[in-house]
Symmetry: C2
């Protein structure tokens, strides 16, 4: 009795696989600051929560496979506010961004086809690639220059007859990198020259700092038929548990085929979609305040990291993560050690070893991803413990 | 720009693909009785709906990838009531039964591996097979004998070096067939002899009539390590929109590998899981009444079908579907015609053409699946319209 190769080969989530060590630490009475997962502490908008409270239907029914009509109609308005012109028919509501990424991989690639993705990338792309048989061709970017998009030559050197798409995460998880419009135009030109699709994961659209603005792949010239945009409400409205995302393309063939995948799984959760719908009318003020809060956190984490000797880290412009290269050999060992062996005043810190965010073997072994999703005070305490732990760990090695 | 083969080849859902015709009919003011989809009209238990009303957390967080601990703990009790002894660690909560089936296909089969499934089967298995690259080897069963499980010889004739699993739906959608324990023992023996997994989709466990009892694959000897059971609350609690299911196996390797698929997509919806959890303590009375109601509906539909000349149909013992073989050539054409051309007193009926429930080409072309999910009065009216429509359609052909 042998399981499938994909079941054996798929990586364990670097964000979640250390959870048993965290649970053991908690059982010992140790408090853990969770910087390992992008679970914000920001309150979910009351407008959303009220939808659950006020749900009055007697039968909790299936919705349409493409998502509730009222929600898709409202999403068009949401994107319009962000300068993205789409129609309701371009949208398929998904069970979180995860499902939208799986659909994007399924619709563009056969098993064994290749997708170019700048690394480090959102680690679960590896898992989705294992599930769909897509081969990720990593386009390595570097902590030292803030994970900038490499030259056209570098990108084109990865293109083969099996390359079907380039996938971007913009703003980037785990890098925090925000691609300037010029970079997206470069990608667009390469995609057209080599007949590729471009998949853009834009779930951190709202989280852009330093007065920069975010450009969607859907706003880039020449991308009319080639672009698939993946989105999610998890981070935007601090509603990770609602599991609502969407898949957007202006290419009618892509939508028609993806609808068949969507029909097979029937529909995304119904009440959660209604909640997501209620969030769309939230005042822009909500985001102004949240952005201020995250900006403050970003500055705290970055400053604390800079205070530690030999840490390499460039200030990220977006999302709520930062990758730090540490002066150690094995960040996963360090992360485990922090949970199993270390505590300061009965507290410790959990973060994600970054190797799982790379596809190239051995890369990222000394890097960690820190999610700055805690309030100012907690972050300050967590970063202090992180620094102390790192110093002690270095001495032990 | 070419989409993937799987995107082009995947079938459109026969349950949902006629929806545009239904929408057009509705726009013309025609009322449609929906017998096409397993969306029960039974009220979702108030205990579940209260959970949405009373949700008090300020942040709608991710849950664990394996599902909420409280829910998995309670599920163990639920299965115990049904004579199925499992532990919390054997359960991964999924986003509906759909995701559990996808996981079962991914964990047992590589692309191109084969799975034997009695046909007609739940049509979306075809879609999930396209998504995962699994080749379905259909084991044809027949309306004339109530879709009985074929002989061991027939089953074994389908086994090749690439066969990895046998999948059953018990009670069956769309057949309503309930497999007696002897049949499951036969499957178990074949699975052991040929080193196969057995996947059992048991989402209609509660819907068994005529004093028969349902046997789970997990209760069959020799199935300790080989069985994967797929479940869902959609039908049990009339909560299709909650999208909560589960994947169960006592094989620790299967659970460990499936957890990696589960981690990639992070978690199933949080509040919906809490609602599912609240349903577990529902009195057995709830099901007694519902079963009575469905039994009544089953009898109505069956009697009405028997009243139509030349319809082949055996009384089903379970679920809430019946397959009827009609004296026409093309049931999909008939289904479309009922929506586009026909109405009686401004009403018509929608049902699912059954061809999409088969994998063997041309099979099921004259069959339809009727879901008896409406109340007695509506069902009587719907079946009257069905009979009248069929008579008129036959004359036109």
């Amino acid at each position: 009795m042998k399981l499938s190769d994909r079941a054996i080969d798929i990586q364990a989530s670097p964000i979640r696989k250390l959870m048993p060590f965290a649970d053991a630490a908690k059982k010992k009475g140790i408090h853990i600051y969770h910087l390992n997962i992008g679970q914000p502490d920001i309150k979910t908008p009351q407008e959303m929560l009220n939808v659950y409270k006020n749900y009055h239907d007697k039968v909790l029914c299936y919705g349409p496979s493409q998502g509730l009509d009222v929600y898709r109609t409202n999403l068009v308005k949401y994107y319009k506010k962000h300068g993205i012109e789409i129609q309701k028919e371009d949208i398929i509501v998904t069970t979180a961004g995860s499902e939208a990424i799986i659909f994007a991989m399924l619709v563009t690639c056969n098993e064994g086809d290749e997708m170019i993705i700048p690394e480090p990338f959102y680690t679960n792309y590896n898992g989705f690639a294992s599930m769909t048989g897509v081969k990720i061709m990593p386009l390595t970017t570097f902590a030292e220059d803030g994970f900038k998009l490499p030259s056209n030559e570098k990108i084109e050197s990865l293109i083969s007859s099996r390359t079907k798409a380039i996938m971007l995460c913009n703003p980037g998880n785990p890098t925090g990198t925000v691609y300037p419009e010029d970079d997206l135009n470069r990608i667009s030109k390469i995609a057209r020259q080599h007949d590729l699709f471009v998949i853009s994961d834009e779930v951190y659209r709202e989280f852009v700092y330093d007065g920069l603005s975010h450009t969607s792949i859907l706003d880039i010239e020449g991308m009319e038929d080639r672009a698939i945009m993946v989105d999610s409400i998890s981070k935007r409205y601090s509603a990770c548990g609602a599991r609502i995302g969407c898949f957007i393309s202006r290419n009618k063939e892509i939508i028609a085929s993806t609808m068949k995948f969507a029909q097979a799984r029937l529909c995304p959760p119904t009440i959660d979609q209604l909640a997501a719908n209620a969030a769309i009318d939230i005042e822009a003020e909500y985001f102004v305040d949240i952005l201020k809060e995250y900006d403050k956190r970003r500055n705290i984490v970055f400053k604390q990291l800079k205070n530690i000797d030999d840490v390499v880290c460039v200030m990220p412009n977006g999302a709520f993560y930062v990758i730090a290269k540490l002066p150690i050999k094995d960040a996963e060992d360090f992360a485990k050690w922090m949970l199993e062996e270390y505590s300061f005043e009965n507290e410790t810190v959990m973060f994600a070893p970054a190797q799982g965010f790379y596809a190239t073997p051995e890369l990222g072994k000394s890097e960690v991803r820190i999610a700055y999703v805690l309030n100012e005070n907690d972050l300050l305490k967590a970063m202090k413990i992180f620094r102390k732990g790192l110093e002690e760990y270095k001495e032990l090695m």
